[in-house]
């Protein structure tokens, strides 16, 4: 089996590459080849027995998408994209990468016209939803994004569903909740504090909490996200039906519950490194975000998230901190 990962140099892309390389198989089929694509050259998987091809390319550049599917990958994980903050700051870049890049990939697949019909797993986001929301967002809630990123993801979902309905590809769209705890340095994303208030205190550093502890949000670990992607790759077409874009499950909790989980696992000294520092701008942005995602269909289809925020904290300590933290 040949697998293509676009956006392979990103956080999820790197973790997915590592996992597939280690497993050497997916849903019982041996992985012979991994093609890793990104605008920056991706890191090859160190422990992979099969062949690896690297492509440094922007899918929106004419000809690049055709090159990406030249080897007819059986499964494509389409993770490439400009993130929320950047898509809002640079309107043209967001539409070029997130919309034109996705459309170019779909068109390149359609252009093969040789019966090629890969499973295409598309990473969408709960940013396709926009406030006001009901208490819990059901699977049939309308998409009224309040960011250009969310709009581009919603359009990508619609294209994916139409290309799939027409038989040009075999798509599954998965709407990821906030992925927490993101390893690495703090970034400027408005959602950054959801990871920061866990990651920084565990590293012995202070972290600012810019919103009230009553804020509710839905989270999943990077490990759960990789699990969603791999599970989507193996879903039977007839189990999916026509509605191929699915809200993923996650742990719905308040910031206070996040902090309580951290204290249970790492103690009071760690939790004391969280500084309450209200930021009205961040608080306003977060106010427009989805809170509780129902994800009934995804759960019924076997997608699994963590069952508590404690688990999410433990996964971070285990995967990204070698099992330890700064007490």
């Amino acid at each position: 089996m040949h697998i293509l990962i676009t956006g392979a140099a990103g956080m999820i892309g790197r973790k997915l590459t590592g996992r597939l390389a280690k497993d050497g198989e997916l849903h019982g089929r041996q992985i012979d080849k991994l093609t890793l694509l990104d605008v920056v050259p991706p890191t090859p998987a160190s422990n992979f027995a099969g062949r690896t091809a690297m492509i440094a390319a922007d899918l929106a550049t004419p000809g690049e998408a055709a090159r990406a599917v030249e080897g007819r990958p059986d499964i494509i994980f389409h993770l490439a994209g400009v993130v929320s903050g950047e898509a809002e700051l640079d309107f043209d870049k967001g539409y070029r990468v997130n919309l034109d890049g996705t459309r170019a990939l779909l068109e390149a697949i359609r252009a093969t016209r040789d019966g090629y019909r890969p499973r295409l797993v598309y990473t969408s986001s709960i940013a396709v939803f926009g406030a006001p929301f009901p208490d819990t967002i059901p699977d049939d809630f309308h998409l009224t994004p309040l960011t250009s990123y969310g709009a581009q993801k919603a359009i990508g979902e619609t294209l994916l569903a139409d290309y799939t309905r027409r038989g040009f590809c075999d798509g599954v769209g998965i709407r990821l909740p906030s992925i927490v705890v993101r390893p690495g340095k703090p970034n400027k994303a408005a959602s950054g504090f959801f990871s920061g208030i866990i990651r920084e205190p565990l590293a012995g550093l202070e972290a600012a909490l810019p919103v009230p502890e009553t804020v509710v949000h839905t989270h999943a670990s990077p490990r759960a996200a990789i699990g969603f992607l791999m599970h989507a790759a193996g879903l039977a077409r007839d189990a999916l039906g026509a509605r191929i874009n699915l809200s993923m499950p996650g742990v719905c909790c308040t910031v206070a519950e996040q902090i309580a989980a951290l204290q249970r696992i790492a103690g009071k000294r760690v939790v004391a490194r969280i500084r309450r520092q209200h930021d009205p701008l961040v608080a306003r942005i977060v106010d427009g975000w989805p809170q509780r995602i129902e994800a009934r269909r995804a759960r019924e289809l076997g997608f699994k998230a963590e069952s508590s925020f404690d688990e999410i904290v433990r996964i971070h300590i285990d995967e990204d901190r070698g099992g330890t933290f700064v007490d």
Copy 2:
């Protein structure tokens, strides 16, 4: 005031042009200029006191959209598009006209960068919805189109909302129900019979009914559609909020109720010209269509449809048949 109508040569375009020309004003402002754009040269309005400009152009062709907004129309009615059947048969043409054409128009407006921010009234369709449905489709129901036309309209709505949110234009999207009675010859649209079973009998001709009389559907007259467009042009931005795409109201009724209305107005001899001729293909297609549209927000915002199918029949006799029919 300067008004641009794209798709001005179509059925709705012609009726809207005629109405605006006759009124000579819209929401209390005098119409100085009408620009009529279509791929085929549109017919000028005969009784218009202001200036009329004609543009024969395809908005998806580079440079044409810029030419269309060169005169900075205050209001744009964007009706241009490939219809449902054609978009399904010719995938490339549907995406080029319905998606690329709409995006080109939005980009041309954004490219002016001189503070130009026209009211853009976009005609969407209830084809953005796809079965299965609840009994009544609420305003917050998700968009899962089951045709390429519906997908293209859903994408157009998303683009319109994002360009509006970013301040590049001032958009309102209106999802039209089935427009009945369409004047003229029968066409091959699967929905054609909804008009045909009224129009043909009134003209002394037989009409085939391919579906059971229990089929429920939502209808509005061409006159109501023109009313929706004109009302949308005058809606206050703050009354609309962020959710600018609205399902329009209509008359929800069964085919049996349509026929009963025809009989009340035109008598038994006219109704006897309807032949029951089951067509499993048409019946299956119609089965996937929205039935009852709630349109609560649109009604609250003052959009008005007919209150009975009788009215729809009378409007057809009045507008398209000079007040008479073949008994």
